[in-house]
């Protein structure tokens, strides 16, 4: 291939940056300058992607949900309604930015801006391609988890500063939920990290490439736990209790109007992309796709997988009702957490055997995959039965009048056998 390795080779954008570094080194630029230039380039690229994604995702989400809901979705502004996000943005910008009279003005205005920071920072460690990681931290996974927790504070800022009871309820729910879901998610990722032997995002992708498999096959349980946990982290159905529209109207961002609300809305979409990206990198091989990356640019594969995961999140939203807060907590603590712990335990034993006895990966990994899949099925089914609610046994279909003899409450008068117990006989 002629293009391979050239700076303008679009199949590997990281390569261009590498060339740029070489060129800068050739002219003797100090390390700081090189670092600043390449860092800025990457950051701008990511910001452009995030901006486009935030705009387009609202269209994608609305169209997809419309399809799920047997309607058409936005289709009037531009071709296929593609300009709908632009129209929305213009409308939001035009709107008056209201602020409640007794709100804490500074915190109230700061929250929608601050909430952008963790959302965007998460993109820094995503492995977009082979050499395309902006900040390839050696504690990438830890960094992502830490960012997830900071969101809690900002959501609480928004809810508390609004001086609204719904907002307070929403932020209370958000804190309770996010703190609970942190735990099973960390535990789930622990299994992944145990297998990969590294916390570096690129390292985890490299592990998947080396062993010619995605981590979802070794860690199916961790994948499910992380996916369900991330719906809670993202405030998406079925775990959107902190902004539950039918209960507390919009939760923590009820008082925000205009572009301040627009920011929360955009962050929601960006977060969904970020979490989809994390799932892609950790469980679905990132930019690596069984040799397909030879033909298609890695970053396109990554974005393709990312939107696949995002589609699952939209699907959840379109089809599932919402949990109640205590049910959601119970789900995290009583269901996800024990399963995650068992999963970590199993993964540790497998990896220990593998490393300790220096077995060949070709032998250990298929067995581990089979064992973990069986474990996932058994645990989910078994634990689900143990934790099953009492109503499971209750009949669900209403009785029909003609089928059975329905007695009236109380003693019922004793006159007449049939007419006494029944108001009417057909």
């Amino acid at each position: 291939m002629q293009l391979l390795g050239r700076w303008y080779d679009f199949r590997d954008l990281g390569n261009g940056v590498a060339r740029l570094i070489e060129a800068l080194e050739d002219v003797g630029a100090p390390d700081g300058v090189i670092y600043a230039v390449t860092g800025l380039l990457g950051a701008v690229a990511i910001l452009v992607f995030v901006a486009i994604a935030a705009v387009m995702n609202s269209w994608i989400e609305r169209r997809l949900i419309a399809r799920i809901q047997v309607r058409r979705g936005p289709n009037r502004t531009g071709r296929f309604g593609l300009l709908q996000p632009v129209a929305d943005a213009i409308k939001l910008i035009q709107k008056e930015a209201l602020q409640p009279a007794r709100a804490d003005g500074l915190v109230f205005s700061l929250a929608p801006i601050l909430i952008f920071i963790p959302a965007i920072l998460a993109f820094a460690v995503l492995p977009w391609g082979e050499q395309m990681v902006l900040a390839d931290l050696n504690v990438g996974v830890l960094y992502l988890l830490a960012l997830g927790s900071t969101t809690t504070i900002i959501i609480f800022m928004a809810g508390y500063a609004s001086n609204n009871k719904y907002a307070l309820l929403g932020s209370m729910r958000a804190i309770a939920m996010l703190i609970s879901y942190e735990l099973p998610m960390v535990m789930a990722l622990l299994g992944v990290v145990t297998f990969a032997g590294t916390m570096q995002m690129s390292g985890i992708v490299a592990f998947q490439e080396t062993h010619w498999s995605w981590l979802i096959f070794f860690q199916p349980l961790a994948f499910l736990i992380f996916l369900l946990g991330s719906t809670a982290e993202l405030n998406r159905t079925p775990a959107d209790i902190s902004e539950a529209e039918s209960e507390i109207v919009a939760g923590f961002h009820i008082e925000y109007s205009g572009m301040k609300f627009g920011l929360f809305y955009a962050v929601e979409l960006i977060n969904a992309v970020a979490v989809s990206g994390v799932i892609t990198a950790l469980f679905l091989g990132g930019w690596w796709a069984f040799g397909l990356e030879q033909w298609i640019p890695g970053w396109l594969i990554f974005i393709g997988k990312l939107y696949g995961v995002y589609f699952i999140l939209i699907w959840f939203r379109g089809t599932l009702p919402r949990f109640r807060i205590d049910q959601l907590m119970a789900f995290a603590w009583k269901f996800l957490l024990p399963l995650a712990i068992v999963n970590v335990f199993a993964a540790s034993i497998e990896v220990l055997l593998w490393r300790e006895y220096d077995l060949s990966a070709g032998l250990v990994l298929p067995i581990a995959a089979a064992v973990n899949l069986a474990l996932a099925v058994v645990l989910i089914a078994g634990w689900g039965r143990v934790m099953g609610a009492a109503y499971e046994q209750e009949p669900r279909r209403p009785r029909l009048f003609s089928e059975i003899d329905v007695p009236l409450p109380g003693d019922g008068p004793a006159s007449g056998p049939a007419a006494a117990s029944e108001p009417a006989t057909a």
């Binding site: 809901q69 079925p238 039918s246 209960e247």
Partner: protein, 367 residues
């Protein structure tokens, strides 16, 4: 050191996505749990009862549309039956059948709305509602075809109905009836065994049979609690006594039972319409009723089974052109009698589900 706490008083409504209009519930919260609840209604009060005393008997029919605007047909029907009983007017047989057909179509539309919003209140993001709207639209199309209106129909007249069926009506009704059982089966497949829906609505808002009866509950509220009472069976009006249909009765009286009872009632409505169409006789669609219609002096309490429950009219005539007293027994208001008992002790989320399962309509509640 003890922490000072104070209860949080939250107004749920009048502007709230889940209060189905302008219903307002002032709840006192301890954390998320409701310790006290008070309902505040009247935001949609249009003094219909007073207005009706100054309009002629026929002019009052449009008011009954605007009470329960999601089930205008049954509102019309109940009023017309009450006036006919008061004035002893014989209604032609074809009109009776048409009334049954339209009342049951209205029940399908209203229950579709009720069930859709109920699942919406459980947190599903509009999807079930929009699915249910599909069938509701078809019913409204039939209404539009017949009387030109979709929501406030004003179709019933004292002595019959306003218009006979157009030619396209029966084929289109036929196709709707053919697909409805499949649709209901589809909804049941999608919804009734949904684990989250079960978690959210099983055992929530339980209304014991004794409580239901003592609180004058009616309609699916009463039947959901296990009391087999349906005015269509117990006190048949029109030609319901010639129809073969069943009354679904719930097991425990929780929100889920009410949801399922409504689902099953749609199925029974399809059965009734099938029979009514098969038996539909030719003839006139309205009796001769003078324009200067004056019922004789007297009073009547007459009720029918509307989708929300027992919709009754207490009418007093002094022999004049207008009613002397026009009182509506509105099921939406009276079904809220036990609201406080059902809601106190629940979390906010459950209270919304309970409220959704009551299927209130503020237009009818406030009148």
């Amino acid at each position: 050191m003890a922490i000072d706490t104070e209860p949080l008083v939250v107004n749920i409504g009048p502007q709230h996505p889940s209060t189905h209009g302008v219903f307002r519930m002032r709840v006192t919260l301890d954390g998320e749990r409701i310790t006290d609840a008070e309902m505040i209604v009247g935001y949609l009060h249009r003094s219909m009862e007073k207005l009706a005393e100054e309009r002629t008997w026929t002019q009052n029919i449009p008011f009954t549309d605007r009470m329960d605007y999601l089930a205008a047909m049954t509102g019309n029907l109940s009023y017309c039956i009450a006036v006919e009983r008061l004035a002893s007017i014989e209604v032609p047989e074809r009109a009776q059948y048409l009334r049954v057909i339209f009342a049951e179509l209205q029940r399908i539309a209203s229950h579709a709305m009720a069930n859709g919003t109920f699942v919406n209140d459980c947190g599903a993001w509009q999807t079930p509602l929009l699915y249910m709207f599909r069938e509701r639209e078809k019913v409204l199309d039939l209404f539009e075809m017949t009387c030109g209106a979709r929501l406030t129909l004003n179709y019933m007249r004292i002595g019959g109905v306003a218009f006979d069926l157009p030619d396209e009506f029966l084929p289109q009704l036929r196709s709707l009836l053919d697909e409805l059982p499949d649709r209901i089966a589809e909804y049941e497949q999608l919804l009734v065994d949904n684990e989250i829906l079960l978690m959210r609505s099983r055992g929530i808002g339980v209304l014991s049979p004794e409580m239901a009866m003592n609180s004058s509950m009616s309609g699916p509220m009463l039947r959901g609690s296990g009391i087999a009472w349906d005015v269509r069976k117990a006190d048949p009006y029109c030609v319901y006594d010639r129809m073969d249909f069943d009354i679904p009765v719930g097991h425990t009286g929780d929100s889920y039972d009410r949801f399922r009872v409504r689902m099953e009632e749609v199925r029974q409505s399809v059965r009734i319409i099938e029979q009514a169409v098969a038996q539909l006789p030719p003839g006139r669609h309205c009796a001769d009723v003078p324009l200067n219609f004056r019922p004789p002096e007297g009073e009547i309490y007459s009720r029918i089974e509307s989708p929300k429950g027992e919709l009754g009219f207490y009418l007093i005539s002094d022999g004049g052109p207008q009613p002397y007293r026009f009182h509506v027994r509105s099921p939406s208001l009276i079904n809220l009698s036990a609201l406080r008992e059902m809601v106190v002790g629940q979390t906010v989320a459950d209270a919304i589900v309970t409220l959704g399962s009551i299927d209130l309509n503020v237009g009818e509640m406030d009148r």
